[in-house]
Amino acid sequence: MRIAFAGNPNSGKTTMYNALTGRSEKVGNWGGVTVGSKEFKLKKEYAGNKEVIAVDLPGAYSMSPFTPEEGITSEYVRTANPDAIVNIVDATNLSRSLFFTTQLLELGIPVVVALNKTDINEKEGTKIDTAKLSAKLNCPVFETVSTENKGLSEMIATAISLAGTLQEAPYLQADIDLHDKNAVDAEDRKRYDFVNKIVAAVEKRKVLSAESTAQDKVDTVLTNPIAGILAFAAVMWFVFWVSQAWLGPLVADWLVGWIEMFQEWVAGQLENSPAILSALLADGIVGGVGAVVGFLPLVMVMYFLIALLEDCGYMARVSAVMDPIFKRVGLSGKSVIPVVIGTGCGIPAIMACRTIRDERERRATTMLTTFIPCGAKIPVIALFAGAFFNGAGWVSTVSYFLGLALIFLGALMIKGITGYKYRKSFFIMELPKWKAPSLKFAFKSMMERAKAYIIKAATIILICNTVVQVMQTFDWHFQVVEEGAENTSILASIASPFAILLIPLGFGVWQLAAAAITGFIAKENVVGTLAVVYALTNFIDVEELEMTGGANTVAMTMGLTSVTALAYLFFNLYTPPCFAAIGAMNSEMKSRGWLWGAIGLQMATGYTIAFLVNQFGTLITEGHFAAGFVPGAIAVACFVIAIIMIGKRVRAHFDEQYELHKKTKAAVTTAA
């Protein structure tokens, strides 16, 4: 048996779905979090002995889709024949929600209305007569609060018991010609009149919706172009500071101590085994994976804070305040949401682009959103900030703001390449009521992430580190590489050709090239590989290293200056994301040209930024350009020429299409 969950955006469908199935799909206090349908079986306590599959659908305002996600919902309830529909109605906005409800009731599938968010109504003194509403709609109505699991078991039990019965509609659309726009409009108006009458009969409000509340005062400030943007910058700075400079490293310090103890213990156990095995296990596997796991607390704290932001309702305000700026560069205010989600992980960020209506804006956002460093890049940033800049907070701040700047520049460039197409870019975003963020939810989201991170470390990163360790231990004749002859290893000979390309960027050694390459599999690999190739583990507790070694061991071993270290960091941050994120980009863009354009742009950006930082940084610190200035400058010039050429071609193609259109038009006029 399948039960579909349908309702307006941000009515709480996914929260209810999660409560009933025990899943933890992404939720947030803004419309459009769910972008595709998901299904899972109900928990035993709700389903009893039956096998009941719950289907979570993206929010929709009506059966006629406006955005692609709305289309998924109407298509599903129309064609997939679910056995029952749970219509989640936002009880604080009954007058809008019932429009869709009356449409669902016409399908003949039994509908149960879950009057959700009734806790807010109680607080505001809004009363809804559920018995009367149920009679008027001709279907059962239950008051629910999905965030507190209230009223769910009764509601779902009723939905299960009704499955397979025939729903009688309280309101039927007249038989009209659906192609006649005016007739459809008139019918929709009649439907709204019907809904308005029901609402007038069942709802009593203490606070009228149009009255200005304290929340409105907050919103007025947060959507103000100056105060709102300053507030956003402050909030994000706080998130980064807490996760990457204060609380995160504090916990990480402690964790790293344990990892080192474990590594020593493993080394002790292997004392009598061949040196090669101990190197592989203790240094390669435990060391490399340990180096990555050591940064876990930073990522966890970050996720916790981002979850709080997503849960309270702030995202819609950020989106609203950023819209005018994003529009100027050819994106939309909705592009902000992927960017903020992208600080956690690029894949959900790329998927979140689906809510952007305009195709060009959507593709451009998909292409650019990964310039914001994701959670997997936090270890890389933290490593370089710690080893080369004494843990300075500005490294992380600059990384994020440069990422944001690159998004703006990239968007302007895409706008230039695709040619200025006149299309009104509308922006409308519902501002949901503020809500105290749930600590429990944020904790859950953080633990989910921690689990995923550890699994990744124990699988992909473990395998990569092992492979790297083996490749650098042996040469092509499978002989163990002797000390002093490291350049003959398999790894060195594969990575060296790439390293040559990196000379103009200041880090043309095979070890760093290898780390950057493994980074495409998963960005944490950059840290893991560096740990393996330089036999270092403790990247966080740099102070201790300084005390023991008398100098910064990590920095010394890698042989980078602070300028080249920064160039290397930026190179890893702004080149294409991991393969998984590229895969997500491919499925969202649905265009080879855009995908390769995206990869090319990201590659060129990472290279150019690293080149500029290295060359001009060296010029400032040492008074001359660094090695490889001329070949590097030629490479950058090639990027620029390539971009101009592509732009010309795309625009010519665009003009051609337009031309063709004009010709046909002329032909039609002459014929007439």
Partner: protein, 75 residues
């Protein structure tokens, strides 16, 4: 005679009636309709800035950009 104006020129806090909606985009007009923003319905501004405003439509609050709020004519 009743005065007609764009939503962005309306007074904050006063409830108006939607007189006309023309965004030059049928899908957008239909979308606004489904939110409850159509001729004859009440609409109230909560706050406004140079390039956007917050309006109450039915029981929800929405942030509208200048293009949309100039396309909604109230009176």
């Amino acid at each position: 005679m009743e005065e007609k104006m764009a939503l962005l020129d309306a007074e904050v806090g006063k409830t108006y009636t939607v007189k006309e909606i023309n965004t030059d985009d049928d899908d957008m007009n239909a979308f606004l309709f489904r939110l409850g923003c159509y001729t004859g319905e009440p609409i109230t501004l909560v706050s406004k800035k140079k390039k956007s405003c917050i309006a109450v439509i039915k029981d929800g609050r929405y942030n509208l950009d200048n293009i949309l709020s100039e396309a909604i004519i109230v009176g």
